[in-house]
Amino acid sequence: MNFFSVIRWLAWKDLISEMRSRETISSMFFFALIVILIFSFSFSMDQQTAKTLMPGIMWVAFVFTGIIGLGKSFLAELQNDCLENLQMNPIPRGAIYLGKLVSNFLFMLIVELILFPLFVIFFNLDVFDKLPLFVLILIAGTLGVSAVGTLFSAMTVQIRAREVMLPILLLPLIVPVMIGAVEATGSVLSGESVTFYRHWIELLVVFDIIFTIVSFWVFEFILDH
């Protein structure tokens, strides 16, 4: 198998496993659904307040939901020794990282795409003419969280307190993604011109590129140590 086949195979393997067990996506979905319900019933909001609050609530829900999925990312491989099996084969470590990144990204994005309409309904927002921009921000923000999260998931999987360590390590690093995604989402909701929030989207894209490349290079060291 070449480099790209390994990435495709790993991502496909995780998707198939998830389709069979539905363990990760269901827990992510129900957690985020509870967050939406709690927030939507906690505040009585007019549409202007909703536009102000919704981006922050939405990204908090997405990131914490993502952490649930990221925490399980390498666990199955570790529990039945598959990680060592992968290491014993001449598979480029970077391809393992990218394969896992693709599956983590897809899990998060699928849940977000299911939840986004619920946010729109519960917060009574009019977003249909801006959907492509929302999807772009979702993709850029989710990729940033997945890029760093996949690396830290591998780093913490062998630690006993991994459920605690993963968010502790991950959350400070993804603050720029959170800020960029919340600001960009808020600006799109307010109907501002793209020139006013383009820099936030650019921040997300630059973050994605830098952290995907750095994580790709560091992953071999993490896996072997």
Binding site: M1, K13, R20, D81
Partner: protein, 252 residues
Amino acid sequence: MGEPMIQLIDVYKSFGDNPVLRGATLTIERGETMVIIGGSGTGKSVILKHIIGLMKPDRGKVVVSGKDLATLKERALDELRKKFGMLFQGAALFDSLSVWENVGFSLRQQTHLSDREIKQLAVEKLAGVGLRGVEDRMPADLSGGMKKRVGLARALAMEPEILLYDEPTTGLDPIMADAINELIVEMKRRLKVTGVAITHDMTSAYKIADRIAMLYQGKILQVGTPDAIKNSGNPIVHQFVTGSSVGPIKTV
């Protein structure tokens, strides 16, 4: 006697402040099955990981087939790893792949065989470990013993020179454990492979070993035939093989 297959020479390994291997030295000859015994957390798995080059010693040398692993580049190490097959404690089967795809995993990674050829070889290897008609089943449909057999078939798929067994009988009932032990003995007789097993199951150790090495406090305390280990005058070895809680090995 020719060149040894595997040598650990004065190997030290620590994890943070915790020294695990403290001068472990062991020679494994071609064609023999060496069983490394020792308590939980004494570094048996660490030794296996050093032998396959997944870990590097802090000090000392690991030599496989005359090659010092520390001097090998990643590509050469990958090449050397083709000599190895490994039966993992958890069988290491990918849930999303069928049995034959699991058995053919390394073949797909390391050869240019077609799927049809890989499946044919996988079916042969499965038959070799006593499994017929399971190639299209999923790992979730198999019992623990069957999973171990599939793991063994996969370990044999690349026709390795060295077979590593990580706790081969852990989690199996005594009858299934004995069946796996029989298979290991048969593989050695039939394929003439060098075997290294780590276990704390003494029944298994006596059955599959040509020689047994006792790992204690990061060092190999004694190496000998199963009979020599069984009748060892060393109080630590004696306590371990008899499974007594009274003796120099402290349980708390």
